[in-house]
Structures are given as C-alpha cells and as structure tokens.
C-alpha cells in the first residue's frame, strides 16, 4: 500500500473541519500528519514521515482516520482518538441508546437533545464521558445512524452492575 503525505492545504481543510465542527483545538494536531492511501486518510505522529522513504511495504502508518475525505466521515478509531478534545456536535447517550449504537442500530432522540447539533451531518457520541464513535445525525428526523461496526460488549450491558 502506498502512503502519501497530504498537501498542506488538504491537511488544513481537515484540521479546520474538526476545529469548526467539533471544537477540537488545532494545536492537538500540531505534531501529527495526514497521509492518504487510496481514498482513506491516516493520522500519524509526524516522526513517522521518514518512513515514507523506506522501501518495505507498509500495511498501515498510524491510525486510519477518515473513510471519506470529502464528507469528513471519521473512523471509529479516529473519533475515539480525538476523545475529550471534542466539545461541539457531541451527543451524550443513555445506556439503552449506547446499546443501540454499539449494535449499529438506528435510533431516535428527543428534539431538544438535537438542538445542540449545528446541522445534519456527522456527530460524536459519548457514553459516560467517553467517545463511543460517530453517527450521522438527521436533525429533521431526529434520527441517529451509528457509523460503527457492531461491537461485542454484551457483558457490560447484560450483567448487573454493583451500584
């Protein structure tokens, strides 16, 4: 797989998007670089750029960050990496919603909870303060479409907890 460094303007476009949509401070990306491989965008520590010149074949460099660069569709690992740096367009889920999300099932939310969302598009979803992943939020329909692979976390939800 061939990895190429994104042009400065392309990187800037991504950083600006995450700054404006999710309020991620741009300094968070200061020691990181964006690479393209096919249509995917990867995020790596900038030290890794010297690997671009080495000849051995790489399967990955850093973290797969965007699945669709034009739509800024984040990967689950990408949005989790941003974690608590995200402070806008984020929805805190209750336990039942978190279960639906992790099972990759669409669910509806009350109107007032979507009022904090700027517009239809990708948002981050959190559960108990931790980012679970991203979802496509349709404001008009009040619907949340998980952008996540079905996750096996049955034990967490099905077994009684002590408190």
């Amino acid at each position: 797989m061939e990895f190429k460094l994104l042009a400065e303007s392309e990187s800037e476009r991504i950083i600006s998007h995450f700054e404006s949509r999710y309020s991620v401070p741009r300094e968070f990306f200061s020691e990181k670089s964006f690479l393209r491989n096919k249509n995917f965008v990867w995020l790596c520590d900038s030290s890794c750029l010297e690997l671009l010149e080495s000849k051995w074949e790489k399967n990955s460099i850093g973290l797969l960050f965007l699945l669709d660069e034009k739509a800024f569709k984040p990967t689950t690992s990408g949005i989790r990496f941003l974690g608590n740096k995200i402070s806008a367009n984020v929805l805190e889920l209750n336990e039942e919603e978190a279960r639906q999300f992790l099972f990759a099932r669409k669910f509806l939310v009350e109107k007032q909870r979507l009022e904090k969302i700027d517009s239809t598009g990708y948002i981050a979803v959190k559960f108990r303060g931790f980012v679970l992943g991203s979802a496509w939020a349709e404001k008009e329909k009040l619907s949340i479409h998980p952008n996540v692979s079905r996750t096996k976390v049955q034990d967490f939800f099905e077994k009684p907890r002590t408190n």
């Binding site: 995020l43 890794c48 051995w56 399967n59 990955s60 850093g62 559960f127 939800f157 907890r161 002590t162």
Partner: protein, 308 residues
C-alpha cells in the same frame, strides 16, 4: 480443572534443567495464572480503569513490577466489557510486560518490533513512548497483521507502522535506537494458559527454532544504532532457544554487550552457562530467567543487549 498435555520427554528435560526447582515449577504450571490488565495510559488513567472495573465487581491487585498493570482473579470476560472495546486496557500475561520494561522505550525514539502480532508488546512500547516517535512493527504471518492493526487502533496509537516481514531477513533501510525481538519459539512456558501448547513440542522443534532464532538475532542486531538496545525474549525455558542464541550473537558481534536488567519487584534468575555438553558465553548469566512460580506468571526469558 483440565490438566495440560505434558510429554514425557518435556518433563524429564525440565527435571534435568530445573533440578530442585522442578516440583515448584510443575505445581505452578498446573494452575491457572491470574489475568493481567495493563492500563492504556495513552487513553485513560490508572484510577479510571480501577473505578470502571470495580464497578463491574472486579478487584485489581498491583503487579509488583509494573505500576500500570494489575492482576485480577475473576471468571468474568474482561475482553467483552465496553472499556476493553474503548481501549482502556489490554489483557496479557504479566510476564510479557517484562521485555518491554527491559527495553525502556522513551518518547521520540526509533523502535523496531520484529514479531509484533497481536500487539501486546507493540502497544505497550507505544504507550511508554507517549505515542511520539516511530515504532516499526512487523510480523511474518499476514493472517496475524489484522489483529495487530486492530489492537493498535483500539488503543489509539499513531506512532506505529505495520507490515509483513521476516525477522531473520527484514531490511527496514534504517537504524533503530531500540529493537524488540520476542522470537517465535517452542512456547513451552505457556502451559498455564494453553493446555495444549505442548502438543507439537519435540526436542527436534527446539533445535529447529534455535537455528532460526540465531539468524533472527543477528539480523536484529545489525539494525541497531551504536549504543542502541536489543531485547531478545522468548516464552520457552529451552537453553537452546535462549542462552545459546544470545551466546551465538556474542560470538559473532564483538560490539554486543549484555546488560543485567534490574526491574524493581520482579523475581528472576540468572541465565545458565551450559546445557547438555554445550557451553555458552559466561556473560549470559546477566540474562533473566523467569519461572512460573517466581511471580505467579507464565515463564519467560529476557536478554538485554547493548551495541558498543
């Protein structure tokens, strides 16, 4: 409790190798080791994981030789808790923390892991590098690369590049500050976790592995920067795959020097000089041998070698 498969040849060999320690070794080998949780401090704090697992009814006890790892005696499936999926911790045997602790990774270094999948040690290295610098992580088996990539993603690592490569011939085209060679071995020290791990074991397998490991260690050493550190480790007690391999490096690389790793809280033994009429370089005494009864873990062998 099911008993492990223990071939007679392995038992007689262990008796010969361990002498007075044999009975304690056998007793420990027949019991399940406690699970070990390594907190991924790239993502969360130790206290957060303690609180998350306590809420799930799981109590943790500190691993004496690693401040961010904990034993837990539980039948619960720690791998299917939400916090595991979110990369808050990694499950591994506590003995496999030791090679990385010996390597002492630091931020902004260049590091190489030559047999990296499924990524327990690779993610630990990146954690101690604070996710800054370079880790090149290769594995010879392409079917094992997805597990490696999954774990790196799950734990939120950005400083690692992965690929397929053979430890005995991989040429990264650059020199490294630190290299980990956790060599594929006859795995006889994994009895406590995998009851059938000795199904394919034979004295011939030990010899075959030893031949390959000697090629691997020479290739690994050739990619070290001057003053760089190579950690060679295995999960076998076989001297042919341990001291003999390190001795082979010392014979062939005059600038290779063994350093004794002192890890606070870890009980370990010295390397042995000879085995069945084979004599090793006396400096192999500075290698670490860990038996299952020493720290209630699997067994392990670790050598820390400096270049120049």
């Amino acid at each position: 409790m099911q008993k492990p498969f223990l071939p007679d040849k392995f038992l007689s060999r262990s008796k010969e190798l361990l002498g007075n320690d044999y009975n304690a070794f056998l007793e420990a080998s027949l019991s399940k080791p406690p699970k070990c949780v390594r907190v991924n401090t790239l993502r969360v704090s130790v206290s957060e994981v303690k609180s998350e697992l306590s809420e799930a009814g799981i109590e943790l006890a500190e691993v004496p030789f690693c401040s961010h790892a904990f034993f837990c005696d539980t039948s619960k499936r720690l791998g299917s808790l939400l916090w595991h999926a979110l990369g808050h911790y990694y499950l591994q045997d506590a003995s496999s923390l030791v090679p990385v602790l010996c390597l002492e990774p630091r931020p902004n270094e260049r590091q190489l892991d030559l047999a990296a999948s499924p990524g327990g040690k690779a993610t630990h290295i990146c954690q101690l590098m604070h996710d800054k610098g370079i880790l090149v992580a290769i594995d010879s088996n392409h079917e094992r690369i997805p597990a490696l990539r999954y774990n790196l993603s799950r734990l939120g690592v950005t400083c690692c590049a992965t690929g397929i490569g053979f430890a005995e011939s991989f040429d990264p085209g650059m020199q490294f500050d630190k290299i980990l060679l956790d060599a594929p071995c006859s795995t006889d020290s994994l009895i406590r976790q995998r009851l059938d791990c000795l199904k394919g074991w034979s004295p011939e397998l030990v010899e075959q592995k030893s031949v390959l490991q000697k090629k691997m260690i020479l290739n690994a050493f050739s990619h070290l920067k001057p003053k760089g550190i190579l950690v060679y480790s295995t999960c076998t007690s076989a001297p042919e795959e341990n001291e003999e391999v390190v001795s082979h490096l010392l014979e062939n690389a005059p600038d290779a020097k063994i350093e004794r790793s002192e890890i606070k809280g870890l009980k370990s033994r010295k390397g042995i000089f000879g085995w069945r009429r084979r004599l090793f370089d006396s400096r192999v005494a500075d290698c670490l041998r860990i038996l299952p009864q020493d720290n209630n873990t699997e067994g392990f062998f670790v050598a820390k070698i400096r270049k120049g």
